[in-house]
Subunit: 388 residues, 2 copies
């Protein structure tokens, strides 16, 4: 509607989110970040389950606040024919539908993807599921942990015998980003063809794609990658090492040339050209002894010295930070990466989206209370009989 939709590359685009949790909501939030109008359709009374994870942001949850600024919330009772009509009219006016409801939910509403696509040939529909259509598991519920476990992501994280779920919900976020990019590709395509698109998207496929390097190891070498704590299963030396001032430095080398520089840095020039360590796959086999060499060197220096000497030698390095340290990270502050977004209890900090072109505006939308826009949406999209 007003000003807030008047700029950004997606100004004029209307998105409907039949959405919950992370994958669809992050997709539509990024569409809102680019200027689209996003109408989030929620169940009256309860709404998106992430609303109820906690109450840390003035009564709203950490997850919900992160994922939903810049949207309108319409709490529609889709069992009520009048509200279902509102949704139908909304879809008729929309450019994009992003849905991640449970298996079969759209069909039960009479809004199956085939029907919608036939009735609205310019509509771009992203239909997110856990396991895709067809196959023995297509009925199964899916959450981030379940898909990461099923797709092997946990098996290459942690330590041998102690798999771990990556703290960042990769299955959800990866699916969000594939949904987001697919919508953008379909919008571009529609400019020339005039046609919308139906994009089925399975969370399992997303994580399987991200596992491509590990799949190739298994398919071609027959070796199962093992988790190596702070390291990477396929690169060495590459890990975390305690420093003399009891901090943790992270060092890595991904090429043979860097390996030779690293050998010099840690005072072991004699190993630089040792054929046992010549190539990355050699070094992966000798991971333990290389980690010990690097670890011994770090243990005799402060973190600041480790970083300064590594920088001077052209060796990548970093600090192992907690979340509190990320919150005050100097690169986020110095580069003005924080903005304020609205919430029902006042403004809250949020990061600027990672990938805006220079000149695209940064929006400052608000996180809607459940159903904050229901009346307005009913008025705008209800049939006359229902709105009077």
């Amino acid at each position: 509607m007003s000003e807030q939709y008047s700029s950004g590359p997606l100004a004029g685009i209307t998105v409907v989110g039949l959405e919950q949790a992370i994958s669809a909501p992050l997709c539509t939030r990024h569409l809102a970040d680019l200027g689209a109008r996003v109408i989030k359709v929620e169940q009256p009374g309860y709404g998106d389950s992430t609303r109820h994870y906690d109450t840390v942001v003035g009564g709203m949850s950490a997850h919900f606040t992160w994922l939903n600024h810049g949207k309108e919330s319409a709490a529609l009772d889709l069992k009520d024919p009048a509200d279902l009509d509102v949704l139908r009219n909304l879809l008729a006016a929309a450019d994009v539908l992003v849905s991640n409801l449970g298996p079969g939910a759209l069909d039960r509403l009479g809004l199956g993807v085939d029907t919608l696509s036939r009735d609205h040939p310019r509509l771009i529909i992203v239909d997110i599921s856990g396991y895709g259509k067809g196959g023995p598991q297509d009925h199964k519920r899916a959450y981030d942990l379940l898909i990461q476990a099923e797709a092997g992501s946990c098996s290459i994280t942690g330590t041998p015998g102690h798999p771990a779920k990556p703290g960042i919900p990769i299955a959800d976020i990866g699916t969000a980003l594939y949904a987001y990019s697919a919508v953008l590709a379909a919008l571009y395509d529609r400019e020339r063809t005039g046609r919308g698109a139906v994009i089925p998207l399975a969370m399992l496929d997303t994580v399987a794609e991200m596992m491509g390097f590990a799949l190739n190891q298994v398919l071609h070498a027959g070796t199962e990658p093992v988790p190596v704590g702070m390291g990477s299963p396929m690169i060495a030396p590459y890990g975390a090492y305690r420093t003399a001032d009891d901090q943790v430095a992270v060092l890595g080398t991904t090429s043979d040339r860097e390996w030779r520089r690293l050998a010099g840095l840690i005072g072991r020039p004699e190993v630089a050209d040792d054929p046992r360590y010549a190539h990355n796959d050699d070094r992966v086999r000798c991971r333990a002894e290389l980690d010990e060499m690097v670890g011994q060197w770090c243990a005799t220096r402060s973190l600041a010295d480790v970083q300064a000497e590594a920088d001077a030698a052209g060796i990548g390095n970093a600090r192992l930070n907690g979340v509190a340290e990320l919150a005050v990270h100097p690169q986020l502050g110095a580069r003005d990466r924080w903005r304020a977004v609205g919430t029902p209890s006042g403004p809250a900090p949020a990061l600027v989206p990672p990938a805006l072109a220079i000149g695209w505006p940064v929006r400052h939308g608000s996180v809607p209370a459940l159903g904050a826009d229901t009346a307005a949406i009913r008025t705008e999209f209800g049939t006359a009989a229902h709105t009077t």
Copy 2:
């Protein structure tokens, strides 16, 4: 050129990749997946460092094969004025440049982003760095591990005192997907405005965005999320439990209603309405005792029984798989998710991209040997003096 560029939504789009490792190569691979012509510019003799990680795919590495099918490889010596001219002419003809060379590398080539954007106003430029421009760390090298460590991702993965790097390189892949979506948004924008775009993209910003939920916890509640192995710092019960047949089931619940169903499932109906477990944040505080209840129930059943009973109760569940199990996952097979791509040593399996609209073609490009297309590219884009 030939057939392979004649279809897909990005048919007719030319992309230049001044790229290495994962982030830019995965971005341009997905652009190739949609039909773009992608010309990967590499250093003669050595090329992209991921070529040298291992040799498992008939001499090519697992990583390189995953990330580079469907591209041409031009090995150009950018210190040679003739080859630099080839690159300049290539950029003049291109729609998109994606670069993730080290800090300052483009400037040293006389191809700074400002110059390129002025000379080629329709060009879409994605300039990937570790830490962005400005701030005390903008000169620093960046790899996946370094950025994940710096951005707190490792601190919420693993177990307390034993942080871990997610095995999937989230910093690289997330950056690739933000780059990919930004290119698509800029292509859409260019259709209406006629203008290209400059998109600076910092890996740190990508991971910080993905940490949004954890940042909100720290910013608003002042509590540092702790890693919980196979669980999630902010949801409970949600984890991995050993079954009677010594497999590992993964179960989770993300809402209060599901919690009550789960309590019934595990034969503890009396806890369903216990106020100590009423809401997710209550359950997070009681994680250990809830994990014990769920674990006891799983320990008395086979994995198959756990899954069947959980399915019947509407509780999401999965199996903890290794990579070899992903390679033969029935959902990937039954849904025809594998395609063949070419490599210099013959065809190799690769997954179909996760998010194609119905009707968009699946391409079957090849992984190029280093410099496989150098002569053709020099002929096509060299100035007359250099090509004769």
